[in-house]
Symmetry: C2
Subunit: 330 residues, 2 copies
């Protein structure tokens, strides 16, 4: 870990809070060197991704430090999941305003520790720097997948089913419920939606099981329709989805039924970190077995075809018109 002595006691805080997170990967050298050394497991590629979170953009001031740590790690693990990769290691750059104290860091590190254990990866390097701006966390995550087997965005084929895991739109509603613009929803629903925003659930076991089965995959970070559009662009296909088939949580379904939230909002909200993937129709029974075995809900929401762009159909198969800006771009 590169250590710049800009913060008083920074060497100590790395040793105290971060070095213990490097146990279990010998090439991390306990964060005592300039760099780590790492080899992929035999017959595997490294899969590498990076994602940053900024306070006030990706999380809210006052969010619990352990939840911030877990969101920072999980949005990266979600990218690995979408590629079918097993997490191995990560590097963390913590860009810290002066308001961050040792208690905050201790709780932040405990969140990392918990998720390292759960998702099977180890801190191998990082940097801590001071800023007069907002708290910002940048993570580079490294996973492994059998050589040449990474699930790409570009493999979708006309005729493929389009599937999505879990439920869609919860995180977007959770963000709204975290602000003064919140809707009047049942408190238990609100709490659930906020938890989905604060600490996403990367669909790691599902993603790893899709290697060799899914033709294309992406995680929902920009919004379901937008992210389906990314697959369409990369694969040179079109897609339609039946909006009635998009899986909603009980909380989101109730919000829609009450008229307070539109389906448009749910389909264009980001931060769900569910997986959207395409697979040949011949894979349906195998996918059902996998979903049951892993206890992950998956729903078939549409199909890929020739052409380009994403169409959203209503319950009667008619195209829905979306006003939300950005939609027409996909």
């Amino acid at each position: 870990m590169k250590r710049k002595a800009q913060r008083r006691g920074e060497f100590d805080l790395i040793a105290k809070y971060f070095a213990p997170l490097a146990r279990g990967e010998s090439g991390a050298l306990g964060l005592t060197d300039d760099a780590a050394h790492l080899l992929p497991a035999a017959g595997h590629d490294f899969i590498m991704t990076t994602d940053a979170l900024v306070e006030g953009v990706h999380f809210l001031p006052g969010d619990p430090p352990a939840a911030i740590a877990q969101k920072a790690l999980r949005v990266n693990i979600s990218d690995l999941a979408a590629k079918g990769a097993k997490p191995r290691a990560y590097l963390l750059t913590a860009i810290l305003p002066s308001s961050i104290d040792n208690d905050w860091l201790a709780t932040f590190a405990s969140g990392l520790k918990q998720d390292q254990k759960r998702f099977g990866l180890t801190l191998i390097g990082g940097d801590t720097v001071s800023t007069r701006g907002p708290l910002t966390l940048s993570i580079t995550a490294i996973g492994e997948v059998a050589c040449g087997r990474m699930v790409k965005r570009s493999g979708a084929q006309a005729g493929d089913d389009v599937w999505v895991s879990g439920s869609i739109g919860d995180a977007g509603l959770g963000l709204i419920q975290s602000t003064a613009q919140r809707h009047s929803l049942p408190p238990a629903h609100s709490r659930y939606l906020i938890s989905r925003y604060q600490v996403p659930e990367p669909r790691l076991s599902l993603g790893m099981a899709l290697v060799g089965l899914a033709h294309a995959c992406i995680d929902v970070s920009d919004g379901l329709v937008a992210d389906m559009g990314h697959i369409c662009t990369a694969s040179g296909v079109s897609m339609f989805i039946n909006s009635a088939d998009v899986p909603l949580s009980r909380a989101a379904a109730a919000a829609v039924a009450s008229g307070k939230v539109s389906i448009e909002t749910l389909l264009t909200s980001g931060d769900d970190y569910e997986l959207v993937f395409t697979a040949p129709q011949s894979a349906r029974s195998r996918l059902a077995v996998i979903a049951a075995k892993l206890r992950v809900k998956i729903a078939r929401i549409g199909r890929a075809g020739d052409g380009e762009g994403v169409s959203v159909l209503d319950g009667e198969g008619k195209p829905r018109h979306f006003d939300r800006r950005g939609f027409t771009h996909f």
Copy 2:
């Protein structure tokens, strides 16, 4: 490259400015996927490091964008150099305030492009996010070294010579010369020192040549004495340096001779990105051949011994006393 549509036109700017930087590494997939896949060359380890720069801390507002790009990349390349690694790829997280416009980004990308060509590495991923804080750049760099041959901090042995490349203290003086606290130095000297601060020169060819020869190595980022201290701690040795043997540039030497700058300032300034390394005395002649072949100056400035800590000796071999805070910590 993970793309969050928080900035209007961000997809376009990634395609326009960053995607061209991903050519040459097929696993980068043109930055069109969630992640890149990468394998080390046969018989090589990956060496991974991350370093972030914050405006107002590591570079100054108004520094040229190409120079900022190059500094961000080079401080990471310098870490690879210290480990003997050949650069291969990097991931870039650009945390951008709203003041950053397309012209700025174009020039920034041109700086990256120039250094990619010079140092032989390729952009394979990244993230761009908005901030209301200062411009911040976080890079994870990936290099390669023959399996098990990474030059560590921990290999120094009592009796080793201590060597340093180039000249020490220039970047620290360059920072002073960039501010209102500047000394009255000849303009040409000032310009030289500022350039050393703005765009460091990673000692890559030297670092790669030290594999199998140096016992320990680190790059000078915290300051010569502090970074020697890091080797001492990791290796369990002490070191002394003869301050009269520490190589100074003409500009720094003139500043010391004029009485405006103390040798203490030079030995405790950061950001030089020279290499400090230890090697057995038997390696002297081979090191001389390498330095001559690579046209890199190296100077033998001291020796490692038993015990702990760094001592700085004056021209008569007497310990110097440093007032500067932090020194006693090493």
